[in-house]
Symmetry: C3
Subunit: 212 residues, 3 copies
């Protein structure tokens, strides 16, 4: 409670979080559109893509009801993203791919470090906290692909979840070494963002098993 203060860290975090939510929601709805879904399907995919990862994280670490369910602002933001695609698809499809990728990388970075910090708060071990960072960042896209009856892209191509893992590892290492939480999260987010953008720019892919 108290006066609304745009420059308070929590207000800023919430705003950035909602921006990430809307970017992921738009991406989910676009994927649904390309798969021929109707407006209801678009809304489901926007919610699931934006908030599915955090929801799984919350169920696993015991933060029930999950954030996505407890705070109406997340669902509303996700559905707004889905409706925007439904109503203005031709406009949204004209957004440059480069911009979408950059916004997505920013969303991934934010979700990864926020998910890691929350898992640590709930007493998870470092290994699991890092994993929860990746689940928060890449879990929604994974469920989206499962609903579209496809093998999740994150499992076979691109460097995406690994960027989240890098950022999450920085957060865990920083907090273990008694760095300030805000600092650890900022550096972690920067690392995740840079790894992801470099991977896109250099067309990195992860190795596959020898003998395949």
């Amino acid at each position: 409670v108290g006066r609304f203060n745009l420059y308070h860290p929590d207000t800023l975090l919430l705003i950035v979080d909602l921006i990430g939510t809307s970017v992921f929601a738009v991406e989910g709805a676009l994927a649904g559109m390309n798969a021929g879904l109707d407006v209801f399907g678009l809304l489901v995919l926007s919610f699931v893509t934006a908030l599915g990862g955090g929801t799984i994280r919350d169920l696993l670490i015991g933060a029930v009801p999950p954030n996505s369910i407890r705070d109406w602002r997340y669902g509303t933001t996700a559905f707004a993203g889905g409706l925007a695609v439904f109503a203005f698809a031709p406009v949204i499809q004209r957004v440059p791919g480069q911009l979408m990728i950059t916004l997505d990388a920013a969303g991934l970075a934010l979700f990864a470090v926020a998910g890691t910090a929350k898992a640590l708060e709930f007493g998870m071990s470092p290994l699991i906290a890092v994993m929860m960072g990746a689940v928060t960042g890449a879990g929604g896209g994974t469920i989206r692909d499962v609903l579209l009856a496809q093998i999740p892209g994150v499992l076979h191509s691109d460097v995406y979840a690994v960027a989240a893992l890098c950022g999450a590892a920085v957060v865990v290492a920083g907090i273990e070494m008694k760095a300030k939480r805000g600092l650890a999260m900022s550096v972690g987010a920067a690392v995740c963002f840079l790894v992801r953008m470099t991977a896109v720019w250099r067309h990195w892919n992860l190795p596959k098993a020898i003998g395949h």
Copy 2:
């Protein structure tokens, strides 16, 4: 406890709930049969189709263990539906499609309003309570389709989950306006049922995004 009373509201609700469960279970098992599943697969699909939606709702709102797991009558009813399909498939397949659709619409209506009311009881916001109504009604069929490696039908065709959303919205609006719970639920169920049946009768479909 106390004397069994067929006309007590809770007894009636339980009976109707178990009828809905068995209808959904039969539909799940029939879908499994058409996909070539064995008797174990039929039983899994009957359980998941009938009780998966309510189970997800309960996990999300924090009603753990979920009803489907805590009360043996639900599982038993679902498995009975699956076994009926296994043993008497030729008979069950002769049930007129019109009757199956009507029973399914009744089950959807009941699941939607019951799920909404439970979410409100657990302190969810109106938006989320309406969503939980749709999850309760349409979630089981969604998991069934995922297990059959198909894009869930509810995402791309027909007016199904939206009927659940309409009924759920009536329940939430009614309770917000201090109507009696039983009245709000009855009207909500009627609205859901009518929307669904009209949609089937008139071959309604939801719009897709412009530009697709």
Copy 3:
């Protein structure tokens, strides 16, 4: 706490549990390799195949956070199995199929009885406890197949989950009849293992619905 004692029942149970985890993890990673996943995908599939069933069981019975998340040794073991496949796939693929099937049957037996016992401890009814045994044993492979966009094998071929159900039923019956927990679990595991191995040896399949 206290001195490490290799012959203490809990130590033995943990060791056997971790062996089961690593076998399932290797199988998951091999399936991922055959589907063309990268090293991250292999690790996800090893975790999910080995620990997904127990995780779902724990979420359903209210044992949150799930064991797989609370105890770092499970995740580490699963990831080690996945990394082994990534690094030494040609060696691991030379392991005789017969040995893999036997180890897998042992893992299934252990997971099934351990999952059943845990469900009983958490106050589940006999029917649900038996179901939780099958979920623990066969749930991970089911999620693995869903992630690979395939109909889960356990639903249409082979006698696999039913072996878990047999072992689980023995555990429940034994404990209901006041047998010692350790005895009931040992006999249950033996029954599950024997049913599974006989099924493989005799090429058993479950019946499908008449009229299919």
